[in-house]
Symmetry: C2
Subunit: 341 residues, 2 copies
């Protein structure tokens, strides 16, 4: 049976949502899974006491310290060794847990994952591959979205190689297509970094490490042309945050105009409600909840990073993502692929 | 009286929309402005013949060649000297026109502008500053959006300096605020390029060349925190194209669900129409038409780049933008500011 360690203190809605999500997960998973919830006893225990946890494979571990969103990652990881975040990763390192899930400080989770778990042999730099909206079947992941800046061509190529394995193993996509995000489609376009990356990706394609479709542009991101979109962390991070800001921006225009139509008697409230629901549903492809989190690819262990706003449902999906990655042996396959380079 | 040269052959809807837009402009401008329309006589003259151009300050000049969207910019500029695009810029250089407007091949227009007009003394690299959606009064420009990749810190700082003058002079913004687009707000965040740019922007702020508010992130782009958003052309170009793809992406989800509500009898057609109109209006801040085009800042002359999809209204706004930049002496002020460095 797998044991997933969960950071009870991570995220804007912690520990409430984390406790909630953990219990939902265990109810759904039955005896398949054990969760080791880590956090401040005085905050977590009262929440646990509200639920009937009888028969659930749930263990609790006290961690007196908390790494907050305001902590500087590199410092927090060293000074707060008794935090839930560091303790969870140490449990993975010691093989007392099979994976770790946290919706806390992303920078700290990255730093601690690297520090405690280390890298898979051969990995230059671990990377974070965020999910982007997609209407076609399958997934779209943009890599990297902020774990790495000043990337070198060989880093970008390795991101694509790792993500190809992830999408194939964990998402069952037979032939994930890789696009290199650039300012134009032609091979000789863009900055030096991308020109060099282009040739290396062609080479990786010849070795069947990736399926490279060439350069793609910003307007291709949502088009499902590629399922793996490769870029430096500066570009990916900016795109991710820009994209996340769009639903709120558009709602702040649409909702008042809908209300205005109701107030002026042109639209009846029932019709407005139906429309508002359709409008809300439109943003479902932007919803990160269904994935829960994103894996930190390339670290020697399973470390899942959740959004600060994670709900109970998101926590549940993060735990299942960790389970799935372990079962599908994503890290073993990355290790094998890199050894083969 | 100012003379603006207009590329009749540039854009997806050329020459029809360009002729239309030119005539609208002249009707609105009265005797204030002259337009010199340049293009293939056999295509443009029949269109002009359909309009009553009596009393309009309109001249036509034949240009046998056309630079298309498929032409390679650097080659086209040299081999198609008798194209409307090159001829228009040569007229500016020879002071026979005061500015040039084109919705044609952006790369070719940039290359030809640089080649024919040259740079304002002291300018490292001219840049394109695209308009981004904004709800607050004023403008948001992202610079650069594709004219420059592999930027150095001094390039990014100069983009901000030029755009500060542009927004002050041409848009009447008293104190345009500059933000450096990065992966985090802290000064020491991000790639080397941006760390160095950060200090140079602080220095430029002390000299009152820019008003620097520090690092901003992708989710700040639409927030109006900064009116000038500085980044390398790779980042800006990707953001611009990503942003432009969003209205269509969202419409492709919302419109069918609205239709479904009508077909299933839950929403009456009149209500659906009202809602669809509100939905369409929501994307107005994304509409590039109202600006028409963007100036190519730093070239020694007035060269306005339009979107390939430019309508007649966009062409009109581009011509007025050229006029406005000349009247407000934007280029003179850039020259003075750089001489002062």
């Amino acid at each position: 049976m797998l044991t997933i360690a969960v950071d009870a203190m991570g995220g804007d809605n912690a520990p409430e949502c984390v406790v909630e999500g953990t219990i939902q997960t265990l109810r759904e998973a039955g005896n398949r899974l054990e969760v080791l919830l880590i956090g401040q006893e005085e905050k977590v225990q009262p929440l646990l006491d509200k639920h009937d946890t009888n028969g659930l494979k749930l263990r609790f571990m006290h961690a007196p310290e908390v790494i907050t969103m305001n902590d500087v990652p590199a410092i927090a990881v060293k000074t707060k060794q008794h935090s839930s975040l560091v303790k969870g990763l140490v449990l993975c390192k010691e093989k007392k847990a099979d994976g770790f899930v946290s919706a806390g400080n992303t920078g700290a989770l990255m730093a601690a994952s690297l520090f405690v778990l280390g890298r898979i042999p051969g990995v230059h730099r671990p990377a974070i591959a965020a999910y982007f909206p997609r209407l076609a079947p399958g997934l779209t992941n943009v890599v990297d979205v902020g774990a790495n800046v000043d990337c070198k061509p060989e880093h970008l190529v390795q991101f694509a190689e790792m993500l190809t394995i992830y999408q194939r193993d964990a998402a069952g996509m037979e032939k994930p297509l890789t696009g290199l995000l650039n300012i134009g489609e032609e091979e000789n376009k863009g900055p030096e970094l991308l020109k060099q990356t282009y040739s290396l990706l062609q080479e990786a394609d010849r070795k069947n490490k990736v399926n490279f479709i060439g350069n793609i542009e910003g307007n291709d991101i949502l088009s499902s042309r590629a399922s793996i979109i490769v870029c430096d962390g500066l570009v990916g991070n900016t795109l991710l945050k820009f994209g996340e800001s769009i639903p709120e921006f558009l709602s702040s225009i649409f909702k008042p105009s809908l209300k205005e139509l109701v107030v002026s008697g042109q639209l009846d409230p029932k019709a407005a409600e139906l429309t508002a629901n359709a409008f809300k549903a439109m943003f479902q492809p932007f919803d990160v909840e269904k994935f829960g989190g994103v894996p930190f690819l390339g670290v020697d262990g399973i470390s899942i990073v959740g959004h600060g706003r994670s709900s109970a449902k998101a926590i549940m999906n993060m735990i299942f993502m960790a389970e799935h990655m372990i079962e599908k042996q994503v890290n073993q396959h990355i290790t094998e692929a890199l050894a083969d380079n």
